[in-house]
């Protein structure tokens, strides 16, 4: 029997949170992005008001505090060499930072006043930014490679395929595929609905999206076939694939829904349910190479789960005072970084 059940019965004596923080600190802001450098040495935390703090991953010492974007930072992305960090924000700019010196190396115009998404390619040679309907491809010196044709509506997400040969964007009307070698879209996966977020399966076979109309959409990239999963409580902003592309964890409620995409795929299968949060789940992250799944919710609960015999087993948890605002596994999968809306940041061993 899972510990979730035991917690429910034993109301008088709740078990002590079992995740022990290795270090804990506080930023005076609502954190909107947590990102480990690929070498695991730095943890970048962007605050909604703008500044980006670089913490030493081992002990939480502040390495640098980057000014970020006036009016607010929206997203950050690491270059694979762990030195360059890209950020975008409400000043209309894409900025590149040298995290060793803490200085800005490039500043580019995103194309609209709010630049909301940025993503380095896996190889690190290219950077895509999205500002409203403007989609721009840059090199690491901040030079514009392309401005793609305007999207039909505001771009809500950008994700590269594992090999860097393609990337996908989501917007109202579905998903569009692009390649870095061509200024025109490669393919459109059309869907009449407001698509909010997307995730490639690590093997590149599927693109899953979360939608405003409380559904999850699966696209089989090669055939263009699609599946719609409905019955969610609310809009779905939380998607996470397991490293082997077998499981897709989806939020959109107080319970997370985990689809098994092995075999013939998730169609007509009964998903696994993650139960234990009292309010909406806001973050779901699988380990990069391991099997653990971390969930964080508006109830302040951070929980680590393992899928065992088609059930979710709670391994460890911790409770924050305010809703969880971000989760990130360290590159070696040994640590989980979590922040809450009040600005508490804590790193624990899984």
């Amino acid at each position: 029997m899972s510990r979730v059940m035991m917690r429910r019965r034993d109301k008088r004596k709740p078990p002590q949170p079992s995740l022990k923080a290795i270090w804990r600190t506080h930023i005076d802001d609502h954190p909107i992005g947590l990102a480990w450098s690929p070498d695991g040495k730095l943890l970048a935390v962007a605050g909604v008001s703008g500044p980006i703090t670089l913490f030493n991953g081992a002990d939480g010492a502040v390495q640098h505090k980057l000014p970020g974007h006036t009016l607010g930072t929206m997203a950050i992305s690491w270059h694979k060499d762990s030195r360059l960090l890209a950020s975008v924000g409400l000043d209309g700019k894409v900025r590149l930072w040298d995290t060793e010196t803490g200085t800005q190396t490039s500043e580019m115009a995103g194309g609209a006043s709010w630049v909301e998404r940025v993503a380095f390619s896996p190889a690190g040679d290219l950077l895509v930014s999205a500002a409203g309907r403007k989609l721009r491809l840059w090199n690491t010196s901040g030079e514009l490679n392309y401005e793609y044709p305007d999207a039909n509506s505001t771009i809500t997400d950008i994700k590269w395929r594992y090999d860097g040969k393609q990337f996908a964007i989501s917007a109202y009307n579905g998903v569009v595929l692009y390649g870095p070698a061509k200024a025109e879209p490669l393919h459109r996966f059309e869907w009449q609905g407001s698509t909010l977020t997307l995730e490639w399966s690590p093997d590149g076979k599927y693109i899953a999206t979360g939608d405003q109309d409380s559904t999850v959409h699966f696209w089989l990239v090669d055939s263009g076939q699609d599946l719609q999963m409905w019955g969610y409580e609310t809009k779905v902003l939380e998607l996470a694939w397991s490293f082997n592309s077998r499981y897709l964890a989806t939020g959109g409620g107080t319970q997370a829904v985990i689809w098994d995409c092995s075999g013939k795929g998730p169609e007509n299968t009964r998903p696994l349910m993650l139960e234990g949060h009292k309010h909406l789940i806001k973050h779901l992250k699988f380990q990069r190479r391991g099997k653990l799944l971390a969930s964080g919710g508006n109830d302040g609960l951070l929980a680590i789960w393992r899928i065992k015999k088609k059930k979710l087993v709670l391994l460890a948890d911790a409770v924050f005072k305010t809703p969880i605002a971000g989760l990130a596994w360290s590159p070696d999968d040994r640590y989980i970084a979590a922040s809450d809306e009040s600005g508490t940041l804590s790193i624990a061993a899984a």
């Binding site: 409400l90 006043s113 709010w114 505001t154 009449q192 407001s194």
Partner: protein, 451 residues
Amino acid sequence: MNTLETRVPVTVLTGFLGAGKTTLLNRVLTENHGKKIAVIENEFGEIGIDNDLVIGAEEEIFEMNNGCICCTVRGDLIRILSHLMKRRDKFDYILVETTGMADPGPVAQTFYVDDDMQEKLLLDGIVTVVDAKHIWEHIDDSDEAKEQVAFADVILLNKIDLVAPEDLDRLEARIKSMNRMAKICRTRDAVVEMDKILNVGGFNLDRALEIDPKFMEPEYPFEWSGIYELNTGTYEWVMGEGPDPAMGAALLPLANNGLAAKEATLMEAVLTFSEDEQAVQAGETLHLGKGQHNQLVLNRKGETVFNFVIQQPGYYMLFTEHHPDEFDAHLCGTDAVLVPLETREYKPDHEHDEEVTSVGITLPGDFHLERLNGWLGQLLREHGLDIFRMKGVLSVRGWDDRFVFQGVHMLFDGRPDRPWGNEQRHNKMVFIGRNLDRAALEEGFRACLVS
């Protein structure tokens, strides 16, 4: 208002281009009201003005469910407001300006459809700025102008210095016939006290009722009734030329043959007028009784005569869509004009044959919750497109708290608010929409009462 309310209030500002929205916005921003305000508008990019913030937005209207226009929302607002809510400690108030031609529906719906919005923001009110001089060019044929008036909690009749007082009165009457719930402020250069437009508590129905107590006065689909004592025989109803080529009428026997049954007969007449009309041509006989909604078709010139054929002697009540005096109409017996024993005039339900109207309903008693839910669900499924806004305070059997609801099109938000306490329990509802059927609405709600 609930003092525990932690949601940030939002005011939506609508109005045609040039009506004075920007002037009003600038007033709000420069007024020393001690609030920190974020403004979302369409025109220019994000700028900070002292403490306040102005964000330019491009309207992006999304359908939530394939093709259902009741579920259209503003995607750009969801994104911008989600971001603003993360810095919520810094803003006390949010103003959203729409483009001139905007239908306020999607903006209002955004605050119902998205859970994050609903949890953190409270739609305080919709303020519509009307150009008192130029509105006449739009109000008859622009759906947007009608919708902007119909959706409003507060209407600013602006530029009054350009309009004669009698035209202003005419305009105000016209607007009231469409939306009786809104507070109307006459302004010049959009000068208005801030507490007239901010924190108006759009949810607060009690306050809406205070403003126009006459609002809840029942309205009828006819303007006149007369009671006649008639013997067996044939009578002639003679009508002259009038303002309309035809007129609705119903002739009902007074129940139990007595004058005491007037009120019951009145209700029967309301229901009768909600039935389909049957045309009655010159020289034909009026259909008698409950459910017989006659449409008396007049000759183009001169008098037109219709027959009443009475088989049971007794008291009869004649209801007419317009006052008989407008047509010089009268009932003739064999040798003389008959004078009604008693007449009554009614407040007509729409002064202008307005397509967009408001309907206010008050009912005594307690609602049966399940029946009410079922009826509301059916109502919104069938007529959600035509119901722009609704609000209500209801008494539900077994509940100590008042049940308050408000909605936009098919979207509905109902919850208990505070205990009735010493207040007399009652049910009050307001609907604003297109082609609303008052009798059917009232009948539907009445059927949900605990008998």
